[in-house]
Amino acid sequence: MTGSPSTQEPIQTDMVIIGAGPIGLFAVFEAGLLGLKCHLVDNLDKIGGQCAELYPEKPIFDIPAVPRCTGQELIDRLLEQAKPFEPVFHLDQQASALQRLEDGKWRLETTAGTVFETPNVVIAAGAGSFVPRRLPLPGAEDFEGKSLYYAVRRMEDFRGRHLLIAGGGDSALDWLLNLEPLTASIGILHRRDEFRAAPDSVQRMRELVESGRARLLLGQVAGLEGTGGQLEAVRISTPDGEIRHECDALLALFGLKMELGPIAEWGLNIERNLIHVDTETFETNQPGLFAIGDIITYPGKLKLILSGFHEAALMCQKAFKNAHPDQRLVFRYTTSSSDLHKKLGVA
């Protein structure tokens, strides 16, 4: 279990949800009805998991009672529904280390050093953390973090460098425009002379290229040259054969993929990257550690949003008992319960 040592006071809460996708968001609502407060952690810098990252504008037709909505609309509605329960989001950080405390609670730490102490940890991690896709080139790891980058952590890393950016989307063009003033020279490498980015960015990129301040190369990364992690040139395959482009930094932006990550180290019963759970409580093989949504498997499991919603509701019943072992839970409808109305802020 990794993670940087933390300096912060642990956050005490009823439930920590790993993953702010649709299922994690609905779990906030179900937990809230039972009076449980939630914090959520996500590796992405935005809320919404696959719906927001992979298909914000594509329509979904199989959410009960919502004949049609886009991925982003679904997330917006789930957020609105969860709002009375004031969930706290910790974005841009990965849940990295999980530890059982002596009093039976969990201590969860993120890569940003946020620490939680809670009786309930819920893994709603989808297919894992969204992380940048890496170049599948032999030896590429040697350059990583020194002269090969998959994201911009600090713009200063690029000051005075001869930078090549590979990619043709919004992030590639945005970084070209933002880093151009800092770099000694800058180029953009894309498969074809057509960009799927905001027209304004494309226009500004073309102006930089015309004025000679940026170079546009058409082709694909075929190899890296350099020693000791220091890049000297990128080999590029083009329709007219391979060329060599000298540069000392490469920023490769090929979108994101999902990777199970640190969860794999937590002693869970995992098969083919899916976690086995008890379908009565959605607890894993460890008490107080739950899993719901796309990340789990059980006989008959369907990777659908509606299945995840159901799993979230059942999970909360057991999570309530963990948080309040001495209290009894009564079953109530949102329609008629004045207690639930108070929680929802509609009383």
Binding site: L54, Y55, K58, A127, R133, R134, L135, P136, G167, G168, G169, H190, R191, R192, E194, R196, Q220, F254, G255, K257, M258
Partner: protein, 104 residues
């Protein structure tokens, strides 16, 4: 039944029965060959990238703008690159050959 041949990343060729009306990605995935297909066939990920042989390419309608845009995020994209979720299998495609592109 119509068939297709799929070469995996170790160079091994598999002959699969093709369900008419399924996408080529679905046929490959259901045969348990290693195809990520992260977006489940929505043309939103490029992880169902395959190379198709010249004969097959000629039988297929050209990639549309969406498919081309997603191919931009692929790796080692060639002239015969396609996203297999965008190829609908039919009787006419009997005998086609595709090869899985590198994983990344």
């Amino acid at each position: 039944m119509a068939k297709l041949k799929v070469t995996d990343r170790d160079g091994v060729q598999h002959e699969l029965e093709g369900e008419i009306g399924w996408s080529v990605m679905e046929i490959i995935r259901e045969a348990d060959l290693p195809i990520e297909a992260a977006c489940g066939g929505c043309c939103a990920c490029a992880t169902c990238h395959v190379y198709v042989d010249a004969g097959t390419l000629a039988k297929l309608p050209p990639a549309d703008a969406d498919e081309n845009m997603m191919l931009d995020e692929g790796f080692e994209v060639r002239d015969n690159s396609r996203l297999s979720c965008q190829i609908k299998f039919s009787e006419e495609l009997d005998g086609i050959e595709v090869e899985l592109a590198p994983e990344y």
